[in-house]
């Protein structure tokens, strides 16, 4: 399988705070990678380094074999990746349809008709076609996140990064978002998902990476991870999170 994302000895400092410590990670094309770990472990920073929302202090990031730099980051991001955020980050001054068609029209040079056709297609995928003409503020959190996923899909990126997509949601709307993500997982999109949803991880992940203190300390298939991970940090974490 082709490699899509590779982090090479990535370190990230926020002032004196050493957030990522020599992270090495490769994600294959079409792979569903789930990153879990306690808060403050560097999971979010890791995915944010993948699209240079955070530029690594040292180390390299490769996307589809090309090294990402300050200069080419915009192009590489535009051509390859989208992101779904914890806080949705829909553009509040635009209708749902405008949110979905903005990047395809302005960055991917699609005509209005093409972009709208694409938008309606992905609105169907997330089950919100009837919301095309409303403003984001009128939607529930779960609906906003499904729109955010549709927005990411409209760019037809090969990679979608999810940074705790359900952490800001009410419990009763989490599942509708997870269902959409499970549906996506059957396609050949490379997905990197930071989440606390263990059920989702078990069901969808090809591989799970466990991070603590800025390092990857365990990785493997869901079976390996949930059944016979030996690392005490992992067991401690799973013990806490699976209890409730």
């Amino acid at each position: 399988m082709n490699e899509m994302i590779r982090l090479e000895n990535v370190n990230k400092m926020f002032g004196d705070l050493h957030v990522l410590k020599n992270v090495n990670l490769t994600v294959a094309e079409g792979e569903k990678l789930v990153i879990i770990g306690p808060s403050g472990s560097g999971k979010s920073t890791t995915v944010r380094c993948m699209n240079f929302l955070e530029e690594p202090t040292t180390g390299k990031v490769f996307i589809a074999g090309q090294e990402m730099t300050h200069k080419n980051k915009r192009q590489l991001v535009r051509d390859n990746m989208s992101m779904v955020f914890q806080q949705f980050n829909l553009y509040p001054h635009m209708t749902v349809l405008k949110n979905l068609t903005l990047a395809p029209m302005k960055l991917h040079h699609k005509s209005k008709e093409e972009a709208e056709a694409l938008a309606y297609h992905y609105l169907d995928v997330v089950g919100l076609r009837d919301k095309a003409h409303v403003y984001p503020a009128t939607l529930s959190g779960g609906q906003q996140q499904r729109i955010a996923i549709a927005r990411a899909l409209c760019c037809q990126s090969r990679i979608i990064l999810f940074d705790e997509p359900t952490s800001a949601l009410d419990p009763e709307t989490i599942q509708e978002v997870l269902d959409v993500m499970i549906k996506l997982a059957s396609e050949n999109i490379t997905m990197v998902v930071v989440t606390h949803e263990m059920g989702f991880a078990r069901k969808v992940a090809d591989r799970i990476v466990f991070m603590a203190d800025g390092q990857i300390i365990e990785e493997g298939t869901p079976e390996h991870f949930f059944e016979d991970a030996q690392n005490p940090r992992v067991q401690q974490f799973l013990g806490k999170i699976l209890k409730h």
């Binding site: 960055l107 076609r129 003409h133």
Partner: protein, 235 residues
């Protein structure tokens, strides 16, 4: 109180009405051109101040601090007399436009900077994660959202700008206040203080008041658009 109701004084005003209209016209022309300059400078320096680049931020800071911490009258004198005595040909209208434009621009820059600063970081990140560059992020995503925050203080600055044309009196301007002053102190026209200043005030009010209210209305509409349900759904 006699003079306030003296028919002669009001009659004099009517005879010389063209003076006031000329002054009013000059004030509006100066203000309009200065506003244009102020908006350009305001957005330019506001964007510089909001950018992450230390050099650009420092430049914007210097401009804003120098202009905001010296009186506009001094800036006008500086511009007018310094140029006049450096044998550069000066024009009173141009002096007004440049000095008021530069002065108001500093306040506009602060308004723009604050407006951009009020937009959540997530909006910048969403744009960046789609591959938008700095200028298209600003133009399509950040500025449209900050308009409703920028607008009310910006219109206040516009109103101030119109009123500040009166400072041009110090360099012998041709604006409404300067001409009103010439009128009431003039050898042939003098005396009608109350009617002249009342008319002058009415003219200022007539232009400033609608402006403030227009902005308030616009702000309400923009705010409502985002928070209210729009039932334009495809049926």
């Amino acid at each position: 109180m006699d003079e306030l109701f003296s028919p002669e004084a009001w009659q004099k005003l009517w005879t010389y009405r063209a003076t006031f209209l000329t002054g009013f016209g000059n004030t509006l022309r100066t203000a309009a051109a200065a506003l244009l300059l102020a908006l350009v400078l305001g957005f330019l320096f506001g964007l510089m101040a909001a950018s992450g680049k230390p050099l650009l931020r420092a430049l914007a800071r210097v401009y804003v601090e120098c202009i905001q911490n010296t009186p506009v009258v001094l800036q006008m004198c500086f511009l007018y007399y310094v140029l006049a005595f450096s044998s550069v040909k000066t024009d009173i209208i141009a002096t007004g436009i440049v000095s008021l434009g530069v002065y108001t621009g500093a306040y506009m820059a602060e308004v723009v900077r604050a407006g951009i600063g009020s937009i959540p970081k997530g909006q910048f990140e969403a744009a960046q994660s789609q591959g938008f560059g700095y200028f298209s992020t600003m133009w399509r995503i950040i500025l449209p959202q900050s308009i409703k925050i920028i607008l009310p203080p910006m219109v206040n600055q516009m109103v101030n700008l119109i009123k500040n044309t009166s400072c041009l009196y110090i360099v012998g301007g041709a604006d409404l206040i300067s001409l009103t002053y010439s009128f009431v102190t003039g050898a042939s026209t003098g005396g009608a203080y109350a009617p002249a200043y009342i008319l002058c005030g009415v003219l200022f009010f007539c232009i400033c008041y609608p402006l403030s209210h227009l902005a308030t209305r616009w702000e309400t509409v923009l705010k409502r658009r985002e928070s209210q349900q729009h039932l334009k759904e495809a049926a």
